[in-house]
């Protein structure tokens, strides 16, 4: 496969992950807050093809589950009635892109059955549905925060590299302080001085703001380096000699080479920032229940009995793996691409 094709292929994988989060309303069988106290910590549903009488069905089905006699935690299947999986069913209502109402869900089972593909949490909420909805918070906070810190970095870096002088000195010294500090301590310190209890939408933007703000230093220094070297190139000096204005030089000659570097940087920053959001929510300083984020879903594991008994609560953590891997591969490919362009 050619290099560009590989970049597009990996980008398609990433778009798929993000689209799954965007269309969580359709793909998830249940709302993220829909509880079923009868299915607290229910194990992942087992798909069956062969029924009690030994007949094979092409359409998979699940059984309802109930607590085993005399146990408070162990479930067993109630084999008396199968619930076949149906596609394009009507479920709980939601709004498509905030525009119109819909009840269409990708799959589900007939009432009173419930299908928990990845098991249930302590309130009997569907982990699979919450994983999809949680991707909205976790994936997009990383993306937006990376956009924010790249924006700040681009602005300050270009400014500082192009104009130089004492402002350049100040910006660089401050960026050294930001780089020197351990990022979690910095994040926590900044978060500590903001309100503790906020509603989910505010919390989301608060997180994006804090994470994006803390991370501006590295992109700023990168951009500064590129702009600084571009400023001394002979063709830039020539353009200046012809009377080109500063803003023209910045726009036309200094920033284009910086964009490739920034794009690579973005692919490296996004997974870090996703992890930052997950970490903050895990520590209870991010998005709060009932709105799911991969971090606050994992926070249940801080309870000892969850850790010992319910492995499926770890699924949001494993969901990070393919996302991170895809971003790292993308960063690698972009880096090689940019290098081949510059040299």
């Amino acid at each position: 496969m050619s290099h560009d094709r590989r970049i597009w292929a990996i980008a398609a994988v990433l778009i798929f992950f993000h689209a799954a989060a965007i269309f969580a309303d359709f793909l998830a069988p249940y709302d993220f807050a829909a509880q079923d106290r009868g299915m607290a910590f229910a194990p992942p549903a087992r798909l069956h093809f062969v029924d009690n009488t030994g007949v094979f069905h092409l359409r998979p089905f699940v059984y309802g589950i109930k607590l085993r006699q005399g146990s408070l935690t162990e479930y067993q299947e109630d084999r008396s009635r199968p619930f076949p999986i149906r596609f394009f069913v009507t479920g709980e209502p939601y709004r498509v892109l905030g525009l119109w109402n819909s009840r269409l869900r990708c799959f589900g089972v007939d009432e009173p059955g419930r299908i928990l593909l990845m098991g249930g949490d302590g309130f009997g909420r569907d982990v699979f549905s919450r994983l999809l909805y949680g991707g909205r918070v976790s994936l997009f906070s990383g993306l937006l925060a990376a956009g924010l810190s790249l924006g700040i970095g681009l602005f300050l870096g270009a400014f500082s590299g192009f104009y130089g002088g004492w402002l350049d000195d100040i910006i660089m010294r401050v960026s050294e302080v930001f780089l020197a500090l351990p990022w979690i301590y910095l994040l926590l310190a900044l978060r500590a001085f903001l309100p503790l209890r906020v509603d989910p939408a505010d919390a989301f933007f608060l997180l994006v703001g804090v994470i994006g703000f803390v991370g501006w230093a590295r992109p700023a220094r990168l951009v500064r380096g590129v702009v600084l070297s571009a400023r001394e190139r002979t063709f830039v000096l020539a353009a200046r000699g012809f009377g080109a204005s500063n803003s023209y030089l910045l726009r036309r000659h200094a920033l284009p080479p910086a964009l490739g570097v920034l794009l690579t940087q973005a692919a490296l920053l996004v997974p870090q920032y996703i992890l930052a959001e997950v970490t903050l929510s895990f520590l209870g300083l991010g998005v709060a229940d009932p709105v799911p984020s991969w971090g606050n879903m994992l926070a249940d594991l801080q309870q000892y009995h969850v850790l010992t008994s319910y492995w499926w609560m770890l699924i949001p953590g494993f969901a990070l793996l393919p996302v991170f891997l895809a971003y790292y591969v993308l960063a690698n490919l972009l880096h090689q691409r940019v290098k081949s362009l510059v040299l």
Partner: protein, 322 residues
């Protein structure tokens, strides 16, 4: 000497910057420790005002900062409202525990990274290269959080190691050797997580630094003279490759402290991390600032050590006219 003085000055400046930034942020903070008291009917507004005045919270920012600096000079690092004690007493013990954990992890990860990195630099083609690339990429993609939780789950289920805290409950009855063993058993898991988290980046840097040196003409000359390969690697190549690695040692401490905070919280290791988190939830202002400043101190101390090492290891820096 000039070089070291400059580095020291830089460290002091960073420390000053961090403390000023913390105070500036704290100014934006809505409410404080005593705001929570307002909810309690048995505490009168006058009491709260008196309390705030006692701790100087009603003063403007510059005065509060000056008072805090005074208390730092006395060695108190501010005062914790929740514990009603100087912050240093609280943070000191915690900092020691964090130091124990991260120090062990640093030592272990470098002891692993250097031989394996050199090995990967020597075997830089074929299957070794591919295995190295896949291995480090996979480790890089696994977030510390997942690693810590998954390993903890594994250990809790198999019960092969004790989890939580630094010692077992019955530590008072143990002999000093038994205590040491108990501590080691409790440390194994958190140290393992931190080491696995920092190792891939270190390995890659060691390999890259060594490859660069191994391609240099003087190494070819040394090999051409028929010196034994190990002699070439450790006597000739490693000292030259050490320069960027020592700088990396300084940089990597920040990442390490971040990893350590998370691991401390998850494995309930009584270090700085859990205390900072607790202080945040209690809005214990000076304890938060104290914890941040302490972690910065760690970092700067580590960086100074790196500078000293660099000074000792690289004659080019000693002769540099600054």
């Amino acid at each position: 000497m000039r070089y070291l003085l400059r580095r020291l000055l830089h460290a002091v400046l960073v420390l000053a910057g961090v403390s000023v930034l913390s105070f500036l942020f704290s100014e934006m903070s809505p409410g404080d420790y005593f705001a929570e008291m307002r909810m309690m009917p048995q505490v009168s507004p006058e009491t709260i005002a008196a309390q705030r005045a006692q701790y100087g919270l009603d003063r403007p920012l510059p005065i509060r900062y000056a008072r805090w600096l005074q208390s730092v000079a006395r060695g108190d690092f501010g005062y914790s409202f929740a514990y009603n004690a100087p912050a240093r007493q609280l943070l000191g013990v915690r900092a020691r525990n964090t130091l124990l954990l991260t120090g062990t992890a640093v030592l272990l990860s470098w002891m692993l990274a250097i031989p394996f990195g050199i090995w990967a630099a020597v075997h830089r083609r074929g299957w070794a290269r591919r295995a190295f690339g896949v291995g480090t990429s996979a480790l890089l993609a696994i977030p510390d959080l997942l690693l810590a939780l998954a390993l903890l789950m594994l250990v809790v289920r198999t019960r092969i190691l004790p989890v939580g805290g630094m010692f077992s409950v019955n530590v008072a009855e143990m002999t000093s050797l038994g205590k040491l063993q108990d501590l080691a058993a409790h440390m194994l898991l958190p140290v393992l997580v931190i080491v696995l988290g920092t190792l891939p980046a270190l390995l890659r840097h060691v390999r890259a630094a060594m490859i660069e040196v191994l391609d240099a003409p003087f190494i070819r000359a040394a090999r051409g003279h028929g010196l034994p390969e190990n002699w070439v690697l450790f006597r000739y190549a490693l000292p030259v490759a050490a320069n960027p690695l020592i700088s990396l040692f300084g940089f990597s401490l920040a990442t390490l402290l971040s990893a350590s905070l998370l691991v401390e919280v998850i494995m309930s290791w009584p270090g700085l991390g859990p205390m900072l988190l607790e202080a945040i939830f209690a809005r214990d202002l000076y304890l938060v600032i104290g914890a941040v400043v302490f972690s910065t101190l760690f970092l700067l101390a580590g960086n100074l050590v790196a500078d000293l090492l660099l000074y000792a290891a690289d004659p080019r820096i000693r002769t540099e006219k600054a």
